[in-house]
């Protein structure tokens, strides 16, 4: 290889020059905090959440102390601007998927409000493994059929425009008849590298609604918490739980 080729073509040199500009612009942006506001939902945990928290906020909310500088890991446990991986973080757990208010349409219009608030069923009647395992687990179809084998749709409530349209309980029975699981859509999605244990939280006295919101009041389940790392850490710090990375990251 001679010297000439090593120096590269003019085009390539120009490209390199532009790259330097890009870097400078990024740096300036960093200082003036442009991306800060853009990524604010991701970067800061407490402020945004505190404003948007629904009525379920606990008394701890008011006494929340500002994050201390030596509270654990670098940059208070938050990803840094200069963390090059931030693009990936954003892509994988970005605004649309991870933000609050995610309310997917489910294969069966199951109403928690009807079952919990009106019929006074306990959470653990269906989600029976929540205090036994890391997974709260969606109840087996058999569990639904346990009641709905005898409970039929109320003809007064079932106002059907199309007579062929199936009621929700009929849909459920169809799944059971076909021995098929109901393909529920996840409302709360944990990233793959997070180890979350329901059992430990339940046993530590964290009630369901602290993370999941007032599910008993929901007809369609909606995500009320961002479930981002900062959000987790806020609570862990308040309660003196472990903030060691390896506790939650696998």
């Amino acid at each position: 290889m001679n010297n000439r080729t090593r120096r590269g073509s003019p085009l390539r040199r120009a490209w390199l020059g532009i790259s330097v500009y890009k870097a400078v612009i990024l740096l300036i942006c960093g200082f003036i905090g442009l991306p800060q506001s853009f990524f604010s939902d991701y970067l800061s945990s407490s402020d945004v959440l505190a404003q948007n928290q629904p009525t379920t906020s606990t008394s701890a909310e008011s006494s929340r102390t500002p994050l201390s500088k030596d509270a654990g890991v670098w940059n208070n446990g938050q990803a840094a601007l200069w963390d090059l991986n931030i693009i990936d973080h954003f892509r994988l757990f970005g605004a649309t998927e991870r933000s609050k208010g995610h309310q997917p349409e489910q294969p069966i219009n199951f109403s928690h409000k009807r079952h919990v608030s009106e019929l006074k069923m306990e959470c653990q009647f269906c989600h029976w493994s929540v205090a036994k395992s890391a997974f709260a687990a969606i109840p087996e179809v058999e569990t639904c059929i346990g009641c709905h084998g005898v409970i039929v749709p109320d003809p007064k409530l079932a106002t059907k425009s199309d007579p062929n349209q199936k009621t929700e309980i009929e849909k459920l029975k169809d799944y059971y008849a076909r021995s098929e699981p109901i393909p529920w859509i996840k409302v709360h999605v944990m990233p793959d590298h997070v180890r979350f244990n329901h059992k430990r939280h339940v046993k530590a006295g964290v009630s369901c609604h602290e993370c999941h919101g007032q599910v008993p009041e929901m007809d369609v389940v909606e995500r009320v918490s961002s479930m981002k790392m900062g959000w987790c850490l806020d609570c862990h710090r308040q309660r003196g739980a472990s903030i060691d990375c390896s506790t939650c990251h696998k």
Binding site: S133, V141, P181, I182, D244, S246, K250
Partner: protein, 1032 residues
Amino acid sequence: MSAEGTSESNKEGLMSGNLVDLKSGKDGSLGGKVNTTGATNASSSNNVSRRRFLQILGSAPVVGAAAGCTDQNTQQVLPYVNRFDQQIVGESVWYNTTCTECSAGCGIQVRTAEGRAIKIEGNVANPINKGGVCAIGHSALQHLYDPDRVRQPLKRRADGKGFDPISWDQAIKEISQRLSDPDLSKRAFIDGGRASAITDLVTNFSKAFAIKRASFDFNPNVVEAKAAELVFGSKGLPTYVFDQADLVVNFGAGFLESWVSPVEYARAFAKAKRADHPVRLVHFEPRLSLTAANADHWYCNKPDSELSIALAILKLLNERRLGEALSEGVSSSISAIVSKLDLERLISQSGIEFSKLVTVVEYLAQAKNSLVLAGGVPTSGEKGLALAVVVNLINLLLGNVGKTIMLSGARAVGSSLDPLLELTQQMLKGQIQTLFIDGSNPVFKLPASFEISYALKRVETVVSFSSHMDESTVLAHYILPTNTTLESWGDVLALEGVYSLTQPVMKPVFDTRDLGEVLILIAKAAGKSEVAEGQSNFYNFVKARWQGFHAKLGLAIDFERFWLECLERGGYYEPRKDRIRVDVNNKAFEIVTQALKSEAVSIAGDAHSELVVYPFASVRSFDGGSANRPWMQEIPDPLSQTVWDAWAEIHPDTAKAKGLAAGDMINIKNYHGAVDLPIYLTPHLHKDVVAVPLGYGHTDYGRYAKEVGANVLSLIPKQVNNGTLGLLSVRASVTRGRGRSTLVNVQGSDSQLGRGLARTAALGAVAAHDGHDADHGSGHGSAHAGHHEPKQMYEQREHPLYKWGLSVDLASCTGCSACVAACYAENNIGIVGKKLMDQGRELSWLRIERYYDGSADEMSVSFLPMMCQHCGNAPCEPVCPVYATYHNEEGMNVMVYNRCVGTRYCSNNCSYKVRRFNWYELSYPEPLNWQLNPDVTPRVTGIMEKCTFCVQRILQAKDKAKDEGRMVRDGDVKPACVQSCPSEAMAFGNLNDPDSKVSKLAKSKRAYKVLDHHINTQPAVTYLENVKYKEA
């Protein structure tokens, strides 16, 4: 995927991830058709199979990460349809069963998560392995999830090329019709033949249809058993009590790697080595095997001269007038034999110095409990039986029977090869019309000179029950794939008084069935229902058999409870009874006299120009059954440190004389065949020998096995000695072959360069002193942990509750690599293939380093298991720009994957080179990915990974401790490596607790930390020096 461009050989097919189709060898069109049960379209959500359901529910994290970026808005969470008792989502279920990878019969526990087997561990209750598992045992999972398995019954096409799928009902109907046809009455069955339920059923089946039976067992140990019968009058192989011995003299038996029951023996041997008076191992073998590497004294004798050495020892011992307790007749017979011996001639034949033999005899005469063994390659020779008899006579003379050799609780052995030879002759003559064959694969595991593949082609209809497309199965007409052991019912009776059960740990992965079930169905269809002894299916057959055991044992509990308890424990284990009475058969002396008459060296070939072919079974390849398991290709051979290949070991002097050099391919050739292999120069074998590992050179069997290395058996003549394949029987010419070697060696340096990484303390020449106050060899320096703590400039870290630490006892470690396999299985470690291994891009978190120290005469081999040291003062931590690696409160060096940006600074700065970087995103062909542990994230491209001390297990133990309101107790946490270690060389626990095993060991006199005294890294891993005797 980025890796696709780089994959050239089929071994790297793993990374391209699209090789789900079954390779049928010749016929490529088969794949799509056969691939019915395994593959479901992952993107379709309407058609949800059980697999898809499990994928999302249980191991969604795992699969999601492997697949990269999935749309999180549409991720599903699927519930079970029905509720299962005792099944809690997220909690694993363990099943006790028995390993059938070799005939040792170790008890295993299989962890299943949401219906999939994901990890194998040893069953502590089993008296054979007591909790250890070998590397091949771990890899049984990859046998189960082998993507190249036969996925449904197949029938050969009419034109003979390729297979078509056939339904089970149709196949069973066609085969039963053949069995009912009186014109097709010449039938045969080749099976494994070890004592078990399935063998009993095959016997019934054979009787019902007048089927000729021939059993094939690669490693039958019939010679050793016959010698024991002749000398001790016992049946089966006696129990060798290594932990009672203070001296073991061994003629070629690889009891720490491949002989009889390596896990059992390694455990007992390590126990004897940790004793106050450590055992001394004297090993005679022409090659440095793994057992030889663990010996205190390894003597490199001339090949096939073991009988001469044993006789010389017998003569010298007899002159010392030992064995007074023996009866008149026996001692006079021994005297009669040894009086005829010419000591000088024997010694010149052996190539061992006389003074060394005298020393060995001195050791034997002084030892309280000695044990003399012969086995493996030397006993497969013509004089093998005589050797085994002489060795037993030495044991008799030394009074070892009843001390280190127990005749009760004998081990069942395999069957002789002779019936198979006879059957092959009949097949070649066209006298067999229908042949049934199980998965024992004699075409590959026996030399080509046995002509089994020709014989199979002469049979009208061959029915194979193998679930793998092995070399015997590709020649079949019907392939009825049967379940692997992890999917089937059965039992194993390896030892007298040890009844082990096998039970299915999961539903069959593919459309396969139990062999017993298939035989019962065929028999029923052919109108012979007596085969199943009145039972409706194979499960009931096994249960009825156990009802018989229950009655025989005369236990107080009722059968149903006994059965459930056995299922829970893995079997029933009788307490051992000792029987010492010895009946010496006079035929024993005849055999020795006969052997003395024959030629001194019985190896065919030109002794001047040709080298003796020395095939050996290694811990990695064994007999070749593990070849299609990527773990077993990727884990380096502990001695040669090579991967993904076979090799030919040659002494450098011999190579020089023949004009060969490192990096050559060599051609080994004789009358029987030829193989091309990469050369591996090592001074640690006899100059007259070329040593080649067995189990390579598959022509079929699967994508990972195919065309890796060459099969040394193609050089071996058709010779069966006392029912065993004569491995040591031929010479071959060695010349330079075509091309250059692509052998990949992962060991950087063979020498420790005086750094004292793996230390060995030399014990005194005559006897050990109390407490191993060894005199330390030179070059190690005087810096020992605890002798004088270095002054620290900075404030030291505090660990308020736990400070996790590991200890590795090098005196117990045999280098068997079981821990490496366990680590691969537990931590979802990726397989990179040969090419990337060559570039140093392997991902193993734990490796076994091998060092040769000392001079060629007084050489010592050290094995050093090297994993992340979890330094208290870690060099990797301060250089990470993104805080992805840090020291936590429990003394661990934690790696946060999602924070890592891949600068690799940490790896550069790591003094132990234990950090691994993910250069590519690795995916697994279905269903190999079913094995992934849901507790551990598979890593993505561009991040660093390393040993975590199995942090997931620590958290599980803490979780359990919190439930019970206590601290984690010592022994609660066992990382995968610690759990699987056959020789109990490792311990893990809390260093803050002064009573924990690991902190006691850390204070041992033998304790040291690797490199700590040079660079003050303060590792959490403590090593305990090896202890070896000095040569007298």
